[in-house]
């Protein structure tokens, strides 16, 4: 009953959190992305799959502002963001993780998450240097927030350990936690389970589900098809920088073009 | 007596500029040979030039060896110093980062400068010009014969380097190390040997620059720093890592310096080239011939 009601509310407010229109990306003469058009509905998990070199990570880099697209528009929560810098996009609520773990390895677990809280508070250089009381208050507040997030990702007891001392599975979780600390509306996860063993994969998968339950939209690039099929509400398939299919998992799974791309890509 | 017109004056500045620029280009080439293999900027590069000049003075003037023997002997000796530099200062560093490496090579250059001061003292030394000092007149401009030697040697070095890196196995191996050290060591290239070789090679070019410039501008123990700055500037101006860039950068730096000193103010002669360098960097952060893609692949 409650579930149904929620669904209706969502249905009525249904909106796209991210809209990508005619986006193209060229490096020198090489087209990495061709005429990308897609939408991400609010509150879902959408996966982007495709053979290696299909342009998935490039797409992430373009969406999150690391490469400005050569052409096209990207709208996040209704506003154009394709001209913005990465840090601006992040502070608007679009966060990401990296394919190869990019933690701040000169910091502790807690400090990593606290950097994620960077945009939550403002502080002037002078006020910080003179350690005005409000600075101390804000600092305590984000430390609490960061601890909450560590609890959510189950790393609370390791808060004081150096980030690079964690096993890979926990590093990946920490990176997700750090992304959550920015209070995103959309979280882009670049291969969150790559390199993880089965147990670690399960932990990560259930965490991603929990994130969706918190109302955060997830855009996922992943090679592990079991995870993708399991988690996603929608799947989009890229090949050679072009979208070749899009839809619910079952539909995509049986799409002849997709099968060909994957089988053809094996050689 | 020929009338000195403005045009001949400009020609004179150009020739002087290209000569100084050739020396800068040689220093820049030395920087790049090491940088391409190791990603280290060797701030002791200027010291090779100083040693080249001063050792040559010992062999050629003090010991009286003929030019054809003293020249190669000097180059070989300075190459040995280059090898020692790699062995004693660079290789032992356990946690290499751009900062520690910069500091290590600066330390080495201070050390080498100190040793040079103890051996040779603080006075400048002269060397006789290779083919005399009777100036040649060229459309009214006056050219020291030694200028031609300098420019000629730059051409010679450029040709030899391009043959070495494009057509010999060792040269190709060094280039492979530069492109991808991991892959290079996978296919059996001894990276450490290549690094050693890069130090030797760049010391040799530094020594040559020192030998040929001493008859023009004398040589003293503390000349290394300013040469290193100009050479480094040239390498950066051209785009760190690019051989044509280094040569172009060197010639541009030398020419700007010469025209700036002649036309605007000789007091600010060292500033002009650096101002142009800054301006270029601000508009094209990877230098004239450097590519952004390549500089992103480099660690430093």
């Amino acid at each position: 009953m409650v579930q149904e009601l929620k669904f209706q509310v969502r249905e009525s407010l249904e909106k796209n959190i991210l809209e990508v229109e005619q986006v193209a990306m060229a490096f020198g003469g090489l087209m990495a992305l061709i005429n990308q058009n897609f939408r991400v509905k609010k509150g879902i998990i959408k996966a982007i799959i495709g053979p290696n070199g299909a342009g998935k990570t490039t797409l992430f880099n373009v969406i999150t502002g690391f490469f400005p697209p050569t052409e096209g528009t990207i709208r996040f929560k209704g506003q154009a963001i394709e001209h913005l810098k990465a840090h601006d996009i992040a502070s608007r609520g679009l966060s990401r993780t990296f394919q190869t773990v990019e933690l701040f390895d000169n910091m502790t677990v807690l400090e990593n998450v606290m950097v994620g809280c960077h945009t939550r508070i403002r502080s002037s250089f002078l006020a910080t240097g003179f350690k005005l009381p409000q600075v101390k208050r804000k600092e305590n507040k984000i430390k609490e927030k960061a601890m909450d997030i560590l609890e959510f990702i189950n790393l609370k007891d390791k808060f004081n350990e150096p980030a690079d001392s964690l096993p890979l599975g926990e590093q990946k979780l920490l990176e997700i936690g750090r992304g959550l600390a920015t209070q995103p509306d959309l979280l882009c996860l670049d291969e969150p389970v790559a390199g993880l063993n089965e147990t670690e994969t399960q932990v990560a998968s259930s965490l991603i589900r929990l994130i969706r339950e918190k109302g955060i939209t997830v855009l996922l690039v992943e090679h592990d098809m079991k995870v993708v099929m399991d988690l996603s509400d929608e799947i989009m398939v890229l090949n050679y920088g072009e979208k070749i299919a899009e839809g619910p998992p079952e539909q995509v799974q049986n799409d002849p073009k997709v099968i060909e791309a994957y089988l053809g890509g094996e050689d | 007596m020929e009338k000195i017109t403005f045009a001949t004056q400009l020609l004179q500045y150009l020739i002087t500029g290209l000569t100084i620029g050739s020396i800068y280009a040689m220093v820049a080439l030395g920087f790049i040979i090491i940088y391409n293999v190791t990603e280290i900027i060797n701030f002791a590069q200027g010291e090779f030039v100083v040693l080249g000049g001063l050792v040559m003075v010992v062999f050629h003037v003090s010991a009286g060896l003929p030019l054809v023997i003293a020249f190669p002997a000097t180059v070989v000796l300075v190459m040995l110093v280059g090898i020692l530099l790699d062995r004693l200062a660079i290789r032992p560093i356990r946690k290499p980062s751009v900062l520690t490496l910069i500091i290590a090579t600066i330390a080495a250059s201070i050390l080498m400068k100190g040793v040079a001061m103890v051996i040779w003292g603080k006075d400048p030394f002269d060397l006789q010009a290779f083919s005399g000092r009777d100036p040649i007149s060229f459309f009214g401009a006056i050219i020291q014969p030694q200028y031609l030697w300098v420019i000629g040697f730059l051409i010679l070095i450029t040709i030899s380097l391009s043959i070495f890196f494009n057509s010999t196995i060792i040269g190709k191996a060094m280039r492979a190390c530069a492109d991808n050290p991991d892959a290079a060591s996978l296919v059996g290239i001894d990276t450490k040997k290549m690094i050693l070789l890069s130090f030797a090679l760049s010391a040799a070019i530094g020594a040559i620059a020192g030998i040929i410039v001493t008859p023009i501008s004398l040589m003293e123990y503390d000349r290394g720093v300013s040469l290193a700055i100009k050479g480094f500037g040239a390498a950066i101006l051209g785009g760190l890592g690019s051989f044509p860039g280094a040569i172009l950068g060197g010639l541009i730096m030398g020419t700007i310096e010469s025209f700036g000193a002649g036309l605007i103010s000789s007091a600010y002669k060292d500033a002009f080239a650096l101002i142009v360098l800054l301006a270029v960097l601000f508009f094209k952060p990877s230098g004239l011939l450097g590519s952004v893609e390549i500089s992103k692949m480099k660690r430093f």
Binding site: E111 | G114, A271, F300
Partner: protein, 317 residues
């Protein structure tokens, strides 16, 4: 969690406060307070440089230029225009901040060796200006007759009085910098050092933070320059040349650049080595200097401030 303990700071400054009294009673070190004034002046610069290089990971080879801008602002404005020294000090800091902003904004987009070259070039250009603008700066002969400092009628006219003045500034800068390090700003700087990509993905405005610390370092160096000018009453360009920038770099490398203490240790050590201890070597001083630096770089990559960490490591094994 990065915490800089308060006890060593308290002990250190207690020693600093007592030192002139101790030195008075030991003839062999009777002149040390004078050296400590210079050490303190260098500390101001290295504290800023340590934040820039050790924490934010950005190299600068032009700190001596800002040191010089402060000194010449104080010198020129007091001698030629008769302005109040404290006001001149502030104006110098303002000019340095402005110059740092103008040079830093494009430079700090450069990476690694390119940034090293840009700051190197800027430092040399400023040095040439000090030398050549003879009417303003007095050129290579320098500038004489810079007045001493006084506050509400109290003259800082003895070594000891000036000593306390300088060290009060060092103390303030040290605490201010520690507060920065242990804050959101400090974390952002270390994040930039570790991974610029990840830092910007967390919403850290990289260029803004780099410029802020660059300006901060410039302002501290400028303050140091003003203090130097009013102490010696004389300045000339060679105090602000490239070698001084390199020497400052060496200070924090020797002391250890990943810890703020390294800045203090390095400034002390190099000051005493170059003004006092290495004189014994005479002509060979430069060789010893280079040798020490090379050995530290090879064997103590985290500098002298890293030694406690190494010893702790031994005990753990």
């Amino acid at each position: 969690m990065l915490r800089i303990s308060k006890l060593p700071i308290a002990i250190f400054f207690a020693i600093i406060i007592c030192f002139p009294w101790i030195a008075k009673h030991i003839p062999a070190i009777g002149h040390y307070p004078d050296l400590m004034v210079f050490a303190g002046i260098y500390c101001l610069i290295t504290i800023g440089l340590s934040l820039l290089m050790g924490y934010a990971g950005q190299i600068s080879l032009c700190q001596a230029a800002f040191y010089g801008i402060g000194a010449y602002a104080s010198g020129i404005l007091t001698v030629r225009y008769g302005m109040n020294p404290w006001l001149c000090m502030l104006i110098g800091m303002g000019i340095s901040a402005l110059v740092a902003l103008l040079v830093g904004a494009p430079s700090l987009k450069l990476k690694g060796h390119y940034l090293a070259m840009a700051t190197l070039a800027f430092g040399i250009i400023v040095f040439i200006i000090f030398n050549e603008e003879v009417e303003l700066t007095g050129g290579p002969d320098g500038m004489r007759g810079i007045p001493g400092l006084s506050l509400f009628g109290f003259q800082f006219d003895s070594v000891n009085k000036y000593y306390y003045l300088v060290w009060a500034f060092v103390f303030a800068a040290f605490i201010f910098t520690i507060n920065i390090i242990q804050s959101r700003t400090g974390r952002a700087l270390r994040a930039i050092h570790s991974s610029e990509t990840a830092a910007s993905a967390m919403g850290v405005n990289i260029s803004r933070f780099k410029i802020i610390v660059f300006i901060y370092g410039a302002v501290l160096a400028s303050l140091a320059g003003s203090l130097y000018a009013h102490y010696l009453n004389f300045i000339n360009p060679s105090t602000f040349d490239l070698f001084v920038s390199i020497k400052l770099l060496i200070m924090i490398a020797l002391g250890g650049m990943h810890q703020i203490w390294g800045a203090i240790i390095g400034a002390f050590l190099i000051t005493f080595l170059s003004y006092e201890w290495l004189h014994f070597f005479g002509e060979f001083e430069i060789i010893v200097y280079g040798g020490i630096l090379l050995l530290v770089t090879i064997f103590l990559p985290d500098g002298l401030a890293g030694i406690p960490g190494i010893i702790k490591g031994w005990f753990r094994n």
